[in-house]
Amino acid sequence: DAGVTQSPTHLIKTRGQHVTLRCSPISGHKSVSWYQQVLGQGPQFIFQYYEKEERGRGNFPDRFSARQFPNYSSELNVNALLLGDSALYLCASSFNRGQETQYFGPGTRLLVL
């Protein structure tokens, strides 16, 4: 079975631009979460979506938004990119929104110049 997939794997943008990152969960999983990992730190929670609704949001500005589609895949959008948005963006899926294992994708490395 395929694991969590993310695209693109790498991305280079300039300040002020917009970026869209994509995630496909494990087949049958209904919950998708997004995390940002800055170099040298642990991942930080951005959003959780379950059944196409936002179920949780971390301490990130409104420039960050996301959505989940009927097939449970998800997009993370970041507007007006800043240098500090350079990070590894990780997507995780789980069957439910409850207390079970989350499985992570390989991530998208974003560099903002």
Partner: protein
């Protein structure tokens, strides 16, 4: 939200040595996971262990939920064990996994 503290921050071992990594939580969690992050950034699931003890090959983990800590044991370490180890927890009413800062493990041949 909860705070997660991992120790030690860095660990250097010779191949074949054993090690113990620790994770402390500031509040109760009922979802606790250990991950190994490889050099390419992939977070690999090691254990889902909100309580009790589990073993998988040379790795084992123990969580004492009442005392809000978890331990990851690595025995007979190999160079391929190198990387960053993270623990993460989620509270009952929460939607997020909160990660520690990780333990950077280096196993030398």
């Amino acid at each position: 939200g909860i705070q997660v503290e991992q120790s030690p921050p860095d660990l250097i071992l010779q191949e074949g040595a054993n090690s113990t990594l620790r994770c402390n939580f500031s509040d109760s969690v009922n979802n606790l996971q250990w991950f190994h992050q490889n050099p390419w950034g992939q977070l690999i699931n090691l254990f889902y262990i909100p309580s009790g003890t589990k073993q998988n090959g040379r790795l084992s983990a123990t969580t004492v939920a009442t005392e809000r800590y978890s331990l990851l044991y690595i025995s007979s370490s190999q160079t391929t064990d190198s990387g960053v180890y993270f623990c993460a927890g989620r509270q009952t009413s929460g939607s997020r996994l909160t990660f520690g800062e990780g333990t950077q493990l280096t196993v030398n041949p």
